[in-house]
């Protein structure tokens, strides 16, 4: 495209927006609403995933062994578990460590109460492996596998935590996608109406252009530019708003719900926006481009 044609298309596109200000505003507004909601859902999903990832490091599987099992056999079981793809980390807790941890947790400050046990470890035969997973949804398959290993007495796991965390994440994802698809459809429809108005207002001009020998591209480009500009404005404004809201919201939630500080871990604003900005811009420009492109194709048979 020649530079003067691009300049012409931008000028005419801006003129169209000005001429149909109400429809243009409505289109910008809908794209804004669409991308604002998209941003909110994006925050929820990425932070939720982040929290799940964090939680996954604490949701582990504990494996206990048969009584009287040798250390070599325990190491062999450990090696078998390590080979599994689901496993991200595995820790061996000896019976002595288990007793020390137990004492720390339940008899802190009253150590004399445990003196009666002297060197007798009540948790003998409680050596275990603590296994941490790459993804909680993989837990059932790993538990099944470990249970089948010779020498394993018991496998402790929290199925409910694992499944509900991944189920909530999937549900939030589905709801977000559904709402965003509806909003995108509304935005495309409104842009299409705006461009149709622009075409009808400029009907005479377009018919003259056709007769003079303007190419399809030359006639259509201002309307495409119009859609893209609307999409860009519609994407930029909510991003600015969301940037400020995000910081305020995480500090507010962390303050109000500090009881849950162990669970609530949020992603850094820059981390979130480095992905959200390009995605939102792409969606905004995409809605603008396709909304106007389809309309122009339908109404501007040159």
């Amino acid at each position: 495209m020649k530079i003067r044609t691009l300049t012409y298309a931008i000028k005419q596109g801006l003129k169209n927006i000005k001429r149909n200000r109400m429809f243009s505003l409505a289109s910008v507004g809908t794209i804004m609403a669409c991308l604002f909601l998209f941003g909110i859902f994006y925050f929820i999903i990425v932070n939720f995933q982040h929290m799940i990832k964090t939680a996954e490091t604490s949701v582990g599987v504990t494996v206990f062994f048969d009584e009287g099992i040798s250390q070599e056999q325990i190491t062999l079981i450990g090696d078998k578990i390590k080979e599994r793809t689901e496993v991200s980390k595995i820790n061996f807790i000896s019976a002595e460590e288990a007793w020390e941890n137990f004492k720390d947790e339940y008899f802190k400050g009253e150590e004399d109460l445990t003196d009666t046990f002297a060197d007798d470890n009540p948790l003998a035969d409680s050596a275990s492996y603590e296994i941490y997973l790459n993804d909680v949804s993989m837990q059932p398959s790993l538990v099944k596998y470990v249970n089948a290993i010779d020498g394993v007495r018991q496998v402790n796991s929290s199925d409910t935590t694992a499944t509900s965390l991944s189920n909530i994440n999937i549900l939030v994802g589905y709801i977000s996608v559904a709402i965003i698809i509806i909003l995108i459809a509304v935005s495309v429809f409104l842009i299409s109406t705006t461009v149709t108005m622009g075409i009808s207002v400029r009907k005479d001009e377009i018919s003259i252009m056709k007769l003079i020998g303007a190419t399809d591209f030359f006639i259509r480009s201002p309307f495409i530019v119009e859609g893209i500009i609307i999409g860009l404005i519609g994407a930029t404004l909510p991003l600015i708003g969301l940037y400020f809201i995000y910081n305020k919201a995480i500090s507010y939630i962390s303050e109000k719900f500090n009881v849950l500080s162990g669970i609530l871990s949020f992603l850094d604003v820059n981390n979130v926006f480095s992905t959200l900005i390009p995605i939102s811009m792409l969606i905004g420009v995409g809605i603008g481009f396709f909304g106007s492109f389809l309309t122009v194709r339908k109404h501007l048979r040159v």
């Binding site: 020649k2 003067r4 044609t5 001009e205 007769l211 003079i212 020998g213 303007a214």
Partner: protein
């Protein structure tokens, strides 16, 4: 009629006709047949009137030549191109060689005289430098050098038609199609416009004028093609107006 043309659909005769219609008919969807089996040939540099009553198919003929409508049957060649074999993307190129003037001027009401004429050059992506040279020169030819900044509503009918004419001619078309160019003008302005068209023709542009204006047709003694109810009823060199208005 048989014409030779090469692989690019261009005539290879030395002096090919600028317009050729071979057994052209055009029926609209409602079933009305606007043009019935017309064959004609217009050579480069000719000045031709197409006359006939309302509904005789004159305007359809213009639309067919501009490829605004497709013929139901027959072949049309304009400036050496077979319009039936012309792809969609090639139509603008065809129209850039044809200037068009209408009865209702069809000027852009929100743009001044200069911008209306410059518009024709912008559309075909002429450099700004050429536009700045060509537009005032063309407006000077049609006698509107002092009206560059006027809006169409500030001009008389005759002046508006001159602007339309300047717009049609600024891209140096080989063919000028004028559909009732004097239809909205008083006799004085009508004659001025016709004088301009004659001048344009003398400079080498083929001019085809669709008109109802008996006085002008009779006085100018040009080739006259007469149509009636879609049929070409006469084609005379130095002819006159056959039908009553």
């Amino acid at each position: 009629m048989a014409y030779s043309y090469n692989i690019r659909n261009e005539f290879i005769d030395d002096e090919p006709p600028i317009i050729v219609l071979e057994n052209v008919s055009k029926s609209y969807q409602k079933g009305t047949e606007a043009v019935k089996n017309i064959s004609l040939k217009i050579r480069k540099g000719e000045f031709v009137f197409i006359v006939g009553n309302s509904g005789s198919g004159k305007s359809t003929l213009i639309k067919l030549m501009l490829k605004e409508v497709e013929p139901s049957s027959g072949k049309i060649y304009v400036n050496g191109k077979d319009l039936g074999r012309l792809r969609r993307g090639q139509v603008p190129k065809l129209r850039r060689n044809i200037g068009v003037v209408f009865q209702d001027f069809r000027l852009l009401k929100d743009r001044n005289v200069y911008e209306n004429v410059a518009f024709a050059q912008r559309v075909i992506e002429k450099p700004l430098k050429s536009i700045r040279e060509n537009v005032p020169a063309m407006l000077s030819i049609v006698g509107l050098s002092d009206k560059l900044n006027s809006l169409p509503r500030e001009l008389s009918g005759g002046e508006q038609q001159r602007v339309a004419l300047a717009r049609a001619l600024v891209n140096n078309p080989v063919l000028l199609l004028a559909d009732e160019p004097t239809g909205n003008l008083d006799p004085k302005n009508s004659w001025e416009i016709m004088a301009l068209l004659e001048e344009v023709n003398k400079r080498g542009t083929t001019v085809l004028v669709v008109t109802h204006n008996r006085e002008i047709v009779d006085a100018m003694q040009k080739r006259v093609i007469t149509m009636n109810k879609g049929i070409l009823v006469s084609d005379e060199q130095k002819g006159g107006y056959l039908y009553e208005n």
